[in-house]
Amino acid sequence: MGMNNKEDLDAMIAKTPARIGVGRSGTRPKTDSWLKFRFDHAAAVDAVYGEVSDILLKRLDLFKVKTKADDKEVYLRRPDYGRKLSDEAKRVIDAKCIKAPTVQIIISDGLSAKAIEENVEDVYLSFKQSLAVAGLDTGTPFYIEKGRVAVMDDIGEILGPEVIVLLIGERPGLVSAESLSAYICYKPRLGTIEAERMVISNIHKGGIPPVEAGAHLGTVIQKILKYQASGMSLVKKEHEEEKREKLG
């Protein structure tokens, strides 16, 4: 490989976290890139079993509740338990939270406690700021341990917010074991279908920067409130409006 070629290759490698320019021995990967892959997989497996520290929750002033999944293996095998709040959680939320806010923010470790530890603070603070600028009230945010996305339906039933935003750890990948997703839904209730939820995923240092994601979330929320819809219903309503504008 000539010098120009190497510069060329390095420029390509710099454009993506994907494992490219790794070369080969026969048709197989080189030993160092193979072992790096194995090492990153090992780190990702370990991230699944981590926990969010009380220090972070205290700093963000979040109280903690649990789902019906009381142990990690149960959580992994039984997502239905992670979608349901424990009875205790329901009581605590009902007692502590402001009812019927415009925007309810919740945070959960999901499949990567590391995603919360590394990214949630920046997203959360910039998101709250963008909502404040827009003059939207945010109720009482809290943390749910071992939650799944649809746990927001249970919360929608108790608190009746216009919109719920759930910041949750994604299942870890090899490039990043700390990627965060923001799931958004207009009036989630028991029986809400998945196509009504929206997601901004890949929030981490190497993906969508957390501060930027927080600001972007604010914009998305305003659109959802304007159309009173999220997910596929939002696409449909936007489409109808486009048609009307064209005709008009």
Binding site: M1, N5, D8, L9, M12, I13, K15, T16, P17, A18, R19, I20, G21, V22, G23, R24, G26, T27, R28, P29, S33, F37, R38, D40, H41, A44, V45, A47, V48, L76, R77, R78, P79, D80, L111, E170, R171, P172, G173, L174, V175, S176, A177, S179, I193, E194, A195, S201, N202, G206, G207, I208, G231, M232, V235
Partner: protein
């Protein structure tokens, strides 16, 4: 319908066909999650024994989900060829299995038989089959489809190049794309999963991939796997897509949770034909995977193997260019470990081929499953032996956007060279012209993505 059997003096009694089908499955965490799995290994085998004696007519006459209440059932039942069905309806499921495996029965025979079967019958046969049965039977069936190039020929192994990027950055995506091309990947498809499901983002990625295809005259096809409605808009606005993609499921309710129905997919097919850049005749791409119906809480107490078969019954109505199961992506609550993923991969591939579909597999796992790269390399070998039409490949097996591991560019090249398979013919000719492949082997030039920079 006889729903009981006796073994070692113990009587096993089942209440319904639905229960027999569920309990006859090999162990899957998804069936346990649904609360429908066999309680013991002996009960599982008893269910298989009961199932083996039921007739195909029993299966048709006792629908798990009636055509009146479910659109997918309507599509599947509507496609049954009455003449062929009449000729086999008195077969037991055991006879069906043995017919499929018989040396007298060719792949063409199976494709003909398939037109008289519904998806539940095909699933029933799969439940009686061992892993090697599934490999041997699937390998008989050659399914050819064409968009720009034809794939599926015996002796070939095609691949989907999946150059995803965590922010849809075009240069980053292109870097992975070029790396893949340099390993001979991408004859089935260059297909990107976008992070941003907006029309603008989809258009950008379609243009970027089509530019590379045009510049280097690559005999392949492109697709951006956003929601079907987003792609329809992008294509109507002039973005160059060779086909339109959608994830599908095995019940109408589950499809609704994906925001789709029959009418929408028919519309998508028409739009792909009218506006898409692919030659055809096939213009659609579907992905499936065991467990999606339960995940959408739309499984109606039916087991995940039977529901997966219904995906294929639904898919074949639309005559797709490619279909693949994303086996192992869904997580440990449906497929707990490598043993379950390997079994599911072989079942899905067999059941898809038995429906006459151009079946590929995304052989993969997530980081919260009990599986690793060695396990999916094993499944890659098994599926190549089974004659899989195409396999999905990512750089070093690591998808840096979807956060899961699949097979790698290296793996496809290795499977081809180890198991004496070639890329799709037009694509191989192109690789030879580019100096990347020579007589089925990678050349010295292969593996250097910079050859596509100038």
């Amino acid at each position: 319908m006889k729903l009981s059997t006796q073994y070692f003096g113990e009587i096993h009694q089942f209440k319904s066909l639905k229960e027999v089908l569920a309990k006859a499955n090999e162990e899957k965490s998804g069936d346990r999650l649904a609360g429908i799995a066999a309680d013991s290994v002996q009960e599982r085998i008893a269910a298989k024994a009961v199932l083996s004696e039921l007739t195909l007519a029993d299966i048709r006459n006792y629908p798990l989900l009636s055509p009146e209440e479910d659109e997918v059932s309507r599509i599947i039942d509507g496609l049954i060829n009455g003449t062929i069905y009449q000729s086999v309806k008195n077969w037991s499921v055991a006879e069906l299995r043995e017919y499929i495996l018989s040396d007298e029965t060719t792949g063409e025979d199976l494709k003909r038989l398939s037109r008289g079967l519904n998806s539940e019958m095909i699933a029933a046969a799969a439940k009686l089959m061992s892993n090697l049965d599934l490999i041997h039977a699937a390998n008989k069936i050659e399914v050819l489809t064409k968009n720009n190039g034809t794939i599926g020929y015996k002796g070939t192994l095609a691949s989907r190049l999946q150059p995803n990027h965590p922010t849809d950055n075009v240069d980053g995506m292109l870097a992975s794309l070029k790396e893949g091309l340099s390993y001979g990947i991408g004859d089935a498809l260059i297909g990107i999963n976008p992070v941003d499901d907006s029309v603008e983002s989809v258009k950008r990625l379609l243009h970027a991939t089509q530019d590379v295809i045009q510049k280097w005259n690559i005999p392949t096809q492109n697709c951006v796997l956003a929601h079907v409605t987003t792609q329809m808009k992008a294509v109507q606005q002039g973005a160059p897509a060779d086909m339109i993609f959608q994830s599908i499921a095995g019940t109408e309710t589950a499809n609704r949770s994906f925001g789709i129905n029959v009418q929408l997919l028919e519309e998508a097919n028409e739009i792909a034909k009218a506006y898409g850049t692919g030659t055809g005749p096939q213009h659609l791409y579907f992905e499936t995977g065991q467990g999606s119906e339960l995940s959408a809480e739309a499984h109606f107490g039916i087991d995940q193997v039977t529901l997966e078969a219904r995906n294929y019954g639904f898919a074949r109505y639309f005559d797709p260019y490619i279909v693949n199961t994303v086996v192992g992506f869904i997580g440990p609550e449906y497929l707990y470990n490598s043993k379950q993923v390997i079994r599911a991969g072989l079942e899905d591939h067999f059941m898809g081929k038995m429906h006459g579909l151009p079946m590929g597999v995304d052989i993969c796992y997530t980081n919260h499953m009990k599986a690793d790269q060695n396990d999916i390399e094993d499944l890659g070998v098994l599926l190549t032996a089974a004659g899989v039409n195409f396999i999905i490949a990512t750089p070093m097996g690591d998808d840096c956007m979807l956060n899961y591991q699949s097979l790698s560019y290296h793996d496809i090249a290795t499977l081809r060279q180890t198991m004496d398979k070639r890329p799709a013919p037009l694509y191989e000719a192109w690789l030879e012209k580019m100096g990347i492949m020579d007589n089925g082997k990678l050349t010295k030039l292969a593996g250097d993505p910079t050859i596509f920079n100038h």
